[in-house]
Symmetry: C2
Subunit: 188 residues, 2 copies
Protein backbone atom coordinates (compact mmCIF):
# COMPACT_ATOMS: atom_id res chain seq x y z
CA UNK A 1 0.00 0.00 0.00
CA UNK A 2 1.23 3.53 -0.73
CA UNK A 3 2.68 4.95 2.50
CA UNK A 4 0.49 8.09 2.21
CA UNK A 5 -2.57 5.85 2.03
CA UNK A 6 -1.40 3.95 5.13
CA UNK A 7 -0.92 7.34 6.81
CA UNK A 8 -4.43 8.61 5.95
CA UNK A 9 -6.10 5.28 6.70
CA UNK A 10 -4.85 5.43 10.28
CA UNK A 11 -7.62 8.02 10.64
CA UNK A 12 -10.14 7.27 7.90
CA UNK A 13 -10.63 4.35 5.46
CA UNK A 14 -10.38 5.09 1.72
CA UNK A 15 -11.41 3.24 -1.43
CA UNK A 16 -8.80 2.73 -4.21
CA UNK A 17 -10.60 5.36 -6.27
CA UNK A 18 -10.63 7.89 -3.42
CA UNK A 19 -6.94 7.44 -2.67
CA UNK A 20 -6.02 7.77 -6.33
CA UNK A 21 -8.06 11.00 -6.53
CA UNK A 22 -6.38 12.39 -3.37
CA UNK A 23 -2.87 11.44 -4.52
CA UNK A 24 -3.52 13.35 -7.75
CA UNK A 25 -3.54 16.57 -5.71
CA UNK A 26 0.04 16.06 -4.48
CA UNK A 27 3.30 16.84 -6.27
CA UNK A 28 6.56 14.99 -5.73
CA UNK A 29 9.65 16.91 -4.69
CA UNK A 30 13.21 15.69 -4.15
CA UNK A 31 15.85 17.72 -2.32
CA UNK A 32 19.48 16.99 -1.44
CA UNK A 33 20.97 17.26 2.02
CA UNK A 34 21.52 20.95 2.99
CA UNK A 35 19.09 22.26 0.35
CA UNK A 36 16.38 24.66 1.49
CA UNK A 37 12.70 23.82 1.15
CA UNK A 38 11.52 27.22 2.46
CA UNK A 39 13.47 30.45 2.94
CA UNK A 40 12.32 33.28 5.23
CA UNK A 41 10.89 36.13 3.19
CA UNK A 42 9.70 33.96 0.30
CA UNK A 43 6.26 32.34 -0.11
CA UNK A 44 5.66 28.87 1.24
CA UNK A 45 3.15 27.47 -1.23
CA UNK A 46 3.13 23.87 0.00
CA UNK A 47 2.47 21.70 2.98
CA UNK A 48 4.94 18.80 2.83
CA UNK A 49 4.46 15.18 3.82
CA UNK A 50 7.78 13.40 4.29
CA UNK A 51 8.15 10.20 2.27
CA UNK A 52 11.87 9.93 3.12
CA UNK A 53 14.56 11.99 4.85
CA UNK A 54 14.68 14.44 7.71
CA UNK A 55 14.17 18.24 7.84
CA UNK A 56 14.23 21.07 10.33
CA UNK A 57 12.19 24.29 10.52
CA UNK A 58 14.11 27.09 12.21
CA UNK A 59 13.98 30.79 12.95
CA UNK A 60 17.15 32.86 12.67
CA UNK A 61 17.14 35.75 15.15
CA UNK A 62 18.71 39.20 14.77
CA UNK A 63 21.99 37.96 16.23
CA UNK A 64 22.11 35.17 13.63
CA UNK A 65 21.28 32.45 16.14
CA UNK A 66 19.04 29.60 14.95
CA UNK A 67 16.08 28.38 17.04
CA UNK A 68 14.45 25.15 15.91
CA UNK A 69 10.67 25.10 15.78
CA UNK A 70 10.18 21.60 14.41
CA UNK A 71 11.86 18.49 13.05
CA UNK A 72 10.17 16.22 10.51
CA UNK A 73 11.05 12.69 9.38
CA UNK A 74 9.06 10.01 7.52
CA UNK A 75 5.29 10.25 7.99
CA UNK A 76 5.35 13.84 9.35
CA UNK A 77 4.09 17.07 7.85
CA UNK A 78 6.17 20.25 7.77
CA UNK A 79 5.60 23.81 6.51
CA UNK A 80 5.61 27.41 7.73
CA UNK A 81 1.92 27.08 8.53
CA UNK A 82 1.35 30.74 9.25
CA UNK A 83 2.76 31.62 5.80
CA UNK A 84 1.05 28.66 4.10
CA UNK A 85 -2.47 29.28 5.38
CA UNK A 86 -2.37 33.08 5.32
CA UNK A 87 -0.37 33.27 2.09
CA UNK A 88 2.09 35.71 3.66
CA UNK A 89 5.92 35.57 3.35
CA UNK A 90 7.60 32.87 5.42
CA UNK A 91 9.23 33.91 8.70
CA UNK A 92 11.11 30.64 9.18
CA UNK A 93 13.47 28.52 7.09
CA UNK A 94 13.13 24.81 6.41
CA UNK A 95 16.14 22.82 5.21
CA UNK A 96 17.12 19.20 4.70
CA UNK A 97 19.36 17.37 7.17
CA UNK A 98 19.36 14.37 4.79
CA UNK A 99 18.36 13.80 1.14
CA UNK A 100 14.58 14.18 1.17
CA UNK A 101 11.61 12.98 -0.80
CA UNK A 102 8.39 14.88 -0.19
CA UNK A 103 4.77 14.92 -1.31
CA UNK A 104 3.58 18.51 -1.56
CA UNK A 105 0.05 19.83 -1.23
CA UNK A 106 -0.85 23.44 -2.08
CA UNK A 107 -3.27 25.24 0.22
CA UNK A 108 -5.69 25.62 -2.69
CA UNK A 109 -5.73 21.87 -3.36
CA UNK A 110 -5.93 21.10 0.36
CA UNK A 111 -9.06 23.25 0.71
CA UNK A 112 -10.47 21.71 -2.48
CA UNK A 113 -10.18 18.09 -1.32
CA UNK A 114 -11.43 19.04 2.17
CA UNK A 115 -14.47 20.70 0.63
CA UNK A 116 -15.14 17.84 -1.82
CA UNK A 117 -14.52 14.99 0.62
CA UNK A 118 -15.88 15.13 4.15
CA UNK A 119 -13.50 12.32 5.16
CA UNK A 120 -10.46 14.43 4.16
CA UNK A 121 -11.80 17.38 6.16
CA UNK A 122 -12.06 14.87 9.03
CA UNK A 123 -8.52 13.57 8.40
CA UNK A 124 -6.97 17.03 8.50
CA UNK A 125 -9.02 18.06 11.54
CA UNK A 126 -7.71 15.02 13.41
CA UNK A 127 -4.11 15.60 12.26
CA UNK A 128 -4.05 19.26 13.25
CA UNK A 129 -5.75 18.45 16.57
CA UNK A 130 -2.95 15.99 17.39
CA UNK A 131 -0.43 18.64 16.36
CA UNK A 132 -2.13 21.20 18.60
CA UNK A 133 -1.95 18.88 21.61
CA UNK A 134 1.74 18.16 20.94
CA UNK A 135 2.52 21.90 20.76
CA UNK A 136 0.72 22.52 24.07
CA UNK A 137 2.88 19.81 25.65
CA UNK A 138 6.00 21.43 24.17
CA UNK A 139 5.03 24.83 25.61
CA UNK A 140 4.54 23.24 29.03
CA UNK A 141 7.93 21.56 28.66
CA UNK A 142 9.59 24.89 27.78
CA UNK A 143 7.87 26.66 30.68
CA UNK A 144 8.35 24.03 33.35
CA UNK A 145 11.34 21.85 32.64
CA UNK A 146 14.99 22.50 33.19
CA UNK A 147 17.39 21.39 30.40
CA UNK A 148 17.53 17.82 31.75
CA UNK A 149 13.73 17.53 31.83
CA UNK A 150 13.41 18.87 28.28
CA UNK A 151 16.06 16.49 26.99
CA UNK A 152 14.53 13.47 28.71
CA UNK A 153 11.11 14.37 27.31
CA UNK A 154 12.61 14.66 23.82
CA UNK A 155 14.16 11.19 24.14
CA UNK A 156 10.86 9.78 25.37
CA UNK A 157 8.78 11.35 22.58
CA UNK A 158 11.22 10.89 19.69
CA UNK A 159 13.52 7.93 20.47
CA UNK A 160 14.38 7.46 16.78
CA UNK A 161 15.26 11.08 16.07
CA UNK A 162 17.91 11.55 18.74
CA UNK A 163 20.41 9.25 17.00
CA UNK A 164 19.67 10.73 13.57
CA UNK A 165 19.90 14.45 14.29
CA UNK A 166 23.17 16.29 15.08
CA UNK A 167 23.32 17.28 18.75
CA UNK A 168 23.68 20.99 17.98
CA UNK A 169 20.21 20.93 16.37
CA UNK A 170 18.67 19.09 19.30
CA UNK A 171 20.15 21.79 21.57
CA UNK A 172 18.61 24.52 19.36
CA UNK A 173 15.25 22.69 19.52
CA UNK A 174 15.33 22.38 23.31
CA UNK A 175 16.48 25.96 23.85
CA UNK A 176 19.60 24.85 25.76
CA UNK A 177 23.29 25.47 25.04
CA UNK A 178 25.38 22.85 23.21
CA UNK A 179 27.62 22.54 26.26
CA UNK A 180 24.64 21.76 28.50
CA UNK A 181 23.33 19.17 26.04
CA UNK A 182 26.76 17.50 25.75
CA UNK A 183 26.89 17.20 29.51
CA UNK A 184 23.45 15.56 29.57
CA UNK A 185 24.46 13.15 26.77
CA UNK A 186 27.52 12.08 28.70
CA UNK A 187 25.52 11.53 31.87
CA UNK A 188 23.08 9.18 30.09
CA UNK B 1 -27.87 36.87 16.81
CA UNK B 2 -26.60 34.34 19.38
CA UNK B 3 -22.89 35.04 20.00
CA UNK B 4 -21.98 31.39 19.33
CA UNK B 5 -23.70 31.64 15.95
CA UNK B 6 -21.74 34.83 15.17
CA UNK B 7 -18.58 32.96 16.20
CA UNK B 8 -19.26 29.95 13.94
CA UNK B 9 -20.48 32.07 11.03
CA UNK B 10 -17.12 33.85 10.88
CA UNK B 11 -15.99 30.56 9.31
CA UNK B 12 -19.11 28.99 7.84
CA UNK B 13 -22.71 30.22 7.23
CA UNK B 14 -25.53 28.41 9.05
CA UNK B 15 -29.30 28.26 8.62
CA UNK B 16 -31.55 28.91 11.67
CA UNK B 17 -32.32 25.21 11.79
CA UNK B 18 -28.67 24.19 11.65
CA UNK B 19 -27.66 26.59 14.44
CA UNK B 20 -30.52 25.46 16.62
CA UNK B 21 -29.45 21.83 16.09
CA UNK B 22 -25.80 22.65 16.90
CA UNK B 23 -26.70 24.67 20.01
CA UNK B 24 -28.68 21.68 21.28
CA UNK B 25 -25.39 19.81 21.70
CA UNK B 26 -23.99 22.38 24.18
CA UNK B 27 -24.65 22.67 27.90
CA UNK B 28 -24.57 25.93 29.86
CA UNK B 29 -22.26 26.24 32.84
CA UNK B 30 -21.82 29.12 35.28
CA UNK B 31 -18.86 29.42 37.64
CA UNK B 32 -17.88 32.05 40.19
CA UNK B 33 -14.53 33.80 40.35
CA UNK B 34 -11.83 31.46 41.81
CA UNK B 35 -13.85 28.30 41.09
CA UNK B 36 -12.15 25.48 39.21
CA UNK B 37 -13.44 24.28 35.86
CA UNK B 38 -10.86 21.46 35.60
CA UNK B 39 -8.58 19.98 38.26
CA UNK B 40 -5.44 17.99 37.47
CA UNK B 41 -6.04 14.28 37.98
CA UNK B 42 -9.77 14.42 37.20
CA UNK B 43 -11.44 13.92 33.82
CA UNK B 44 -12.04 16.91 31.57
CA UNK B 45 -15.24 15.93 29.79
CA UNK B 46 -15.89 19.24 28.03
CA UNK B 47 -14.45 21.73 25.62
CA UNK B 48 -15.59 25.16 26.77
CA UNK B 49 -16.56 28.18 24.71
CA UNK B 50 -16.49 31.37 26.78
CA UNK B 51 -19.70 33.41 26.66
CA UNK B 52 -18.51 35.71 29.46
CA UNK B 53 -15.62 35.97 31.90
CA UNK B 54 -11.96 35.08 31.88
CA UNK B 55 -10.11 31.85 32.76
CA UNK B 56 -6.60 30.50 32.94
CA UNK B 57 -5.20 27.04 32.26
CA UNK B 58 -2.10 26.28 34.32
CA UNK B 59 0.30 23.54 35.26
CA UNK B 60 1.54 23.29 38.85
CA UNK B 61 5.08 21.89 39.00
CA UNK B 62 6.64 19.74 41.72
CA UNK B 63 7.82 22.84 43.59
CA UNK B 64 4.26 24.19 43.62
CA UNK B 65 4.99 26.88 41.03
CA UNK B 66 2.25 27.64 38.48
CA UNK B 67 3.01 27.94 34.74
CA UNK B 68 0.22 29.34 32.59
CA UNK B 69 -0.51 27.52 29.36
CA UNK B 70 -3.43 29.60 28.17
CA UNK B 71 -5.85 32.40 29.00
CA UNK B 72 -9.39 32.49 27.62
CA UNK B 73 -11.92 35.33 27.52
CA UNK B 74 -15.13 35.86 25.51
CA UNK B 75 -15.21 34.02 22.18
CA UNK B 76 -12.28 31.68 23.02
CA UNK B 77 -12.23 27.95 23.63
CA UNK B 78 -10.45 26.36 26.59
CA UNK B 79 -9.91 22.79 27.82
CA UNK B 80 -7.13 20.35 28.70
CA UNK B 81 -7.18 19.13 25.10
CA UNK B 82 -4.89 16.19 25.69
CA UNK B 83 -7.22 14.93 28.42
CA UNK B 84 -10.39 15.88 26.50
CA UNK B 85 -9.52 14.15 23.23
CA UNK B 86 -7.75 11.13 24.70
CA UNK B 87 -10.14 10.79 27.66
CA UNK B 88 -7.23 10.56 30.09
CA UNK B 89 -6.96 12.39 33.45
CA UNK B 90 -6.21 16.13 33.19
CA UNK B 91 -2.62 17.24 33.80
CA UNK B 92 -3.48 20.93 34.07
CA UNK B 93 -5.92 23.01 36.10
CA UNK B 94 -8.35 25.57 34.72
CA UNK B 95 -9.86 28.18 37.03
CA UNK B 96 -11.89 31.37 36.76
CA UNK B 97 -10.27 34.79 37.16
CA UNK B 98 -13.79 36.35 36.95
CA UNK B 99 -17.37 35.02 37.17
CA UNK B 100 -17.73 32.91 34.03
CA UNK B 101 -20.49 31.74 31.72
CA UNK B 102 -19.55 28.87 29.42
CA UNK B 103 -21.07 26.71 26.71
CA UNK B 104 -19.75 23.16 27.06
CA UNK B 105 -19.38 20.53 24.36
CA UNK B 106 -18.50 16.92 25.19
CA UNK B 107 -16.03 15.14 22.93
CA UNK B 108 -18.74 12.64 22.02
CA UNK B 109 -21.13 15.37 20.86
CA UNK B 110 -18.31 17.23 19.10
CA UNK B 111 -17.46 14.14 17.06
CA UNK B 112 -21.18 13.55 16.43
CA UNK B 113 -21.87 16.99 14.95
CA UNK B 114 -18.59 16.88 12.98
CA UNK B 115 -19.61 13.55 11.51
CA UNK B 116 -23.19 14.64 10.77
CA UNK B 117 -22.37 18.10 9.41
CA UNK B 118 -19.45 18.58 7.03
CA UNK B 119 -19.55 22.33 7.74
CA UNK B 120 -18.93 21.75 11.47
CA UNK B 121 -16.01 19.45 10.64
CA UNK B 122 -14.78 22.38 8.51
CA UNK B 123 -15.39 24.89 11.32
CA UNK B 124 -13.40 22.90 13.87
CA UNK B 125 -10.61 22.17 11.37
CA UNK B 126 -10.26 25.90 10.76
CA UNK B 127 -10.39 26.77 14.48
CA UNK B 128 -7.78 24.22 15.49
CA UNK B 129 -5.57 25.23 12.56
CA UNK B 130 -5.61 28.85 13.80
CA UNK B 131 -4.83 27.59 17.28
CA UNK B 132 -1.93 25.51 15.95
CA UNK B 133 -0.42 28.54 14.19
CA UNK B 134 -0.77 30.65 17.35
CA UNK B 135 1.00 27.96 19.43
CA UNK B 136 3.88 27.79 16.92
CA UNK B 137 4.27 31.56 17.26
CA UNK B 138 4.27 31.24 21.05
CA UNK B 139 6.99 28.57 20.93
CA UNK B 140 9.11 30.82 18.72
CA UNK B 141 8.51 33.66 21.16
CA UNK B 142 9.59 31.47 24.12
CA UNK B 143 12.69 30.27 22.24
CA UNK B 144 13.82 33.56 20.76
CA UNK B 145 12.60 36.51 22.82
CA UNK B 146 13.98 37.92 26.01
CA UNK B 147 11.39 38.94 28.67
CA UNK B 148 10.88 42.37 27.04
CA UNK B 149 10.20 40.82 23.62
CA UNK B 150 7.73 38.30 25.08
CA UNK B 151 5.90 41.02 26.97
CA UNK B 152 5.69 43.33 23.96
CA UNK B 153 4.37 40.48 21.82
CA UNK B 154 1.75 39.70 24.46
CA UNK B 155 0.58 43.34 24.46
CA UNK B 156 0.45 43.33 20.66
CA UNK B 157 -1.52 40.07 20.41
CA UNK B 158 -3.85 40.56 23.38
CA UNK B 159 -4.25 44.31 24.03
CA UNK B 160 -7.52 43.77 25.92
CA UNK B 161 -6.26 41.04 28.21
CA UNK B 162 -3.33 42.89 29.73
CA UNK B 163 -5.55 45.31 31.67
CA UNK B 164 -7.91 42.55 32.76
CA UNK B 165 -5.47 39.94 34.06
CA UNK B 166 -3.40 40.32 37.26
CA UNK B 167 0.27 40.92 36.45
CA UNK B 168 1.42 37.85 38.37
CA UNK B 169 -0.52 35.65 35.94
CA UNK B 170 0.88 37.43 32.89
CA UNK B 171 4.38 36.79 34.32
CA UNK B 172 3.54 33.07 34.75
CA UNK B 173 2.28 32.98 31.15
CA UNK B 174 5.42 34.62 29.76
CA UNK B 175 7.79 32.52 31.85
CA UNK B 176 9.38 35.59 33.48
CA UNK B 177 9.63 36.60 37.13
CA UNK B 178 7.11 39.04 38.65
CA UNK B 179 9.96 41.46 39.39
CA UNK B 180 11.05 41.46 35.74
CA UNK B 181 7.49 42.04 34.56
CA UNK B 182 6.97 44.91 37.03
CA UNK B 183 10.09 46.58 35.69
CA UNK B 184 8.83 46.23 32.11
CA UNK B 185 5.41 47.66 33.10
CA UNK B 186 7.05 50.67 34.68
CA UNK B 187 9.20 51.28 31.63
CA UNK B 188 6.18 51.39 29.28
Amino acid sequence: MHPLRTHIERITPLTDQEFSYILGHFEEKKLRKHQYLVQAGTYDRFDNWVLGGCLKAFYTDQEGKDHILQFAAEDWWIADYQAYFNQTPATINIDCMEDCQLLQLSVHKREKICSEMHKMEHFFRKKVTSGYIALQQRILSLLTHNPRGRYEEFLRLYPNLSSRIPKKYIAAYLGVSRETLSRLYNEN
